[in-house]
Amino acid sequence: MDYLLHILVMVSLYAILAVSFNLLIGFAGLFALSQAAFFGVGAYTTAILATKLGLAFPVPLLAGVFLTAALGMIVALPALRIGGDHLVIITLALQIIVIAVMVNWRSVTGGTDGIAGIPKIHLGGAPLDTPARFLPLALAVAMLSLAIAWRLAASPFARAVRAMRENEAAVQAVGKNIVAIKLAVFAFSAGLAAVAGGLYAQYISYVSAETFTLDLTIYILAMVILGGTGNLWGSVLGAVILTALPELLKFVALPPDIADKSRQVLYGLALIAILLLRPQGLLGEIRAPRRRIARAPAAGAALESDLPADGRVTVEGKGLMRRFGGIVAVSGLDIELRRGRIIGLIGPNGAGKTTAFNLLTGFLRPDQGTVSLNGVDLTGTKPHRIVRSGMARSFQDLKLFPRMTVLDNVMVALPRQKGDNLFYVFFAPWIVAREERANRGRALAILDFVGLGERAGDTAENLSYAEEKLLVIARLVATEAQVLLFDEPLSGLAPNTLEAIFPIIRRLAAAGRTICIIEHNLDVIRGLCDTAVFLDEGRKLAEDAPERLIADPALAARYFG
């Protein structure tokens, strides 16, 4: 009986670990290989504080959680700039460093002997010294951890996290701070793993470095993959299956060393088999099914505020210059954008149009020159801050969040969300819930404004090309920026669709937005823009009314030449 209860305790601990790992790799798409190290740091911290200082539960566990969360943030630092293989290698390095510290810092960690005789947790005066006595605590903590992870996964914060997984540049372009998001996710995942570590230390009463190796990370990874990345219940299921199944091996008479290795071989084979046969895992990520979105009766206005369309200069780029290696992409560019006016940016391919957008919106730092918005200098400011100050841009290749719903694509872009802040998510959920209702109304109003209201519940990848273009506009409007930079918003569209989009952009201008459009189609420039700027080889060659610019034979020769 005790044996069965012991397995249940282990299932609870592994469920916490699998869920914590899933948040990192499944939800955030951050592939780190240091979960065993986080688990180990939590376990060792608890072991040291409980054994050497005699601190009582839950103090050692909480200390372990905070220390590990801080460690998670340090590891995230190099990963903030570049992901993928670099994150893998950095987290592996952490794994090795952690083991080295456990083995070498003998005075504190006991070296290769580990730490034995860790005191049992006492609750209500009685020690939890048998699986039967420990199980209720393990289950309760596992449930609590799952509830916390669940709350996180259902929050507006998680919407931003998923968006980041789909496209980092786009999520910056709607004003999210991806540095803060990654740090928070790492801290959260590491802290949760440390919860399991703290419980483990005081349950087994013994910790040793060899428990917390890469093999353990792969074992937890197998649980996450088996259950399905991005699905928290999947991780619980994976933990149940992969903890319970190998126990059956115990009934085969094998020497313990061989049995242990056979178990590992089985995990590895299971991992490969799942990836080949059912890569989404047993449960798969829960995706919003196609559904009709219930309409809020008073959806509110699409455009938060109307400003005077008075032609006042809002954005000023002065002497902008940017070089890539030996190539000068933009040089000496002066550009002024005006409130209520639509300015077209034209020029042959490679003229530096998109680079100009990147310089204005902070995606690239100019080598020379300045950018200001309403007289405030923004040179060198991070993209998400520029969006929050009121200038946002779209991308030529759209960069939608294809696996999210149309509604979520817009909601994620709404500014100043309290739900992006984990403090509000956990400690003031009612505020977040109220805000979500209001934001939903606003997002739906914006979708109505561009004519996508009916598609709100669809997944973005199911939209037609024209609808995708509309969604790009809706997402940009949702940022509530006063300055909107559209990179080829109309390219590749049929003429009748163009006619439908023109009024949308005109209405934005009429409501006092400052608009700049990169466009190749001269009919669009003629039909839509108040002024056009002609760029070639990174320089501004002319700025004039579209008719006159297009009629200029010298420019036409350059354009079509």
Binding site: R81, I96, I218, A222, D257, K261, L276
Partner: protein, 289 residues
Amino acid sequence: MDLVLQLIVNGIINGSHYALLGLGFGVIFGPTRITHFAFGPLYALAAYAVWTAAVPLGLPLPAAAAIGIAAGALFGVTTYRLLYRPFERRQSPSLVVLIASLGLFIVLENAIGIAFGSDTKVIPNFNADVILLGPVVFTSVQAAQVLALITVGSLLALFLKRSDYGKAVMAMTDNPEMARIIGIDTVKVATLAFALGSAIAAVPAMLILLKEGATPYMGFNAVFMGFVAVIIGGIGSLSGAVIGGLTLGLVENLGTWQIPTEWQSTIAFIVLFIVLLFKPRGLFARGAR
């Protein structure tokens, strides 16, 4: 001063080992972009192949070495064809391939343990000569590690620059898409890369077998160091991988001048951490932007 000199020599020796691993890992990683974790246990398997040929079968060392290199290449190609190719065919994301590779890693590592036992396998009756050169001391095996880097590195450079297949490998490293468009058979080139990289890995594997013996777990450190050398050097640059490996060896060893030896690997990884913090694309990344 003599101590520093000795530490530099040790650094070059260990660095040569890491550089060879970086070459092996990098030749595969460059054109295929597969994070080939199973490189580690395959490296271990090559060491066990040499041991099997030399000890139970009693073959002379050069013959055993040849068998080890051939076996290494064969294992590498088999892995590509049976494990990675199916994922490539269904265009799985690179993350999925990486996880599959971790799966194979753990399977092979433990299978080796089951087949050969967990004890250290050594070549009995083999004793390396000690060489005294002025104030520094090293063994013949250590000298062989440096010579192996020079030989393998030169042959590889010659192959990649002169032969058509070598040029195809480089083209695919620069741009797999473009390589496919200009008619390079990318599956064939990837197979070749796996054969080459795995054969290269068999060389340091054999030398480590002579130096320290083989254990089922020797692969983890190997794949990690090879990977780190490639990342420090900059993905796609094989000379970068060599410099990355040598840097790693030198930093590790010079670090022990002031810091106790058991912290050797920790020092190297802290350096790695700092390099990636400030130069995320590595010290010698190819291509602009």
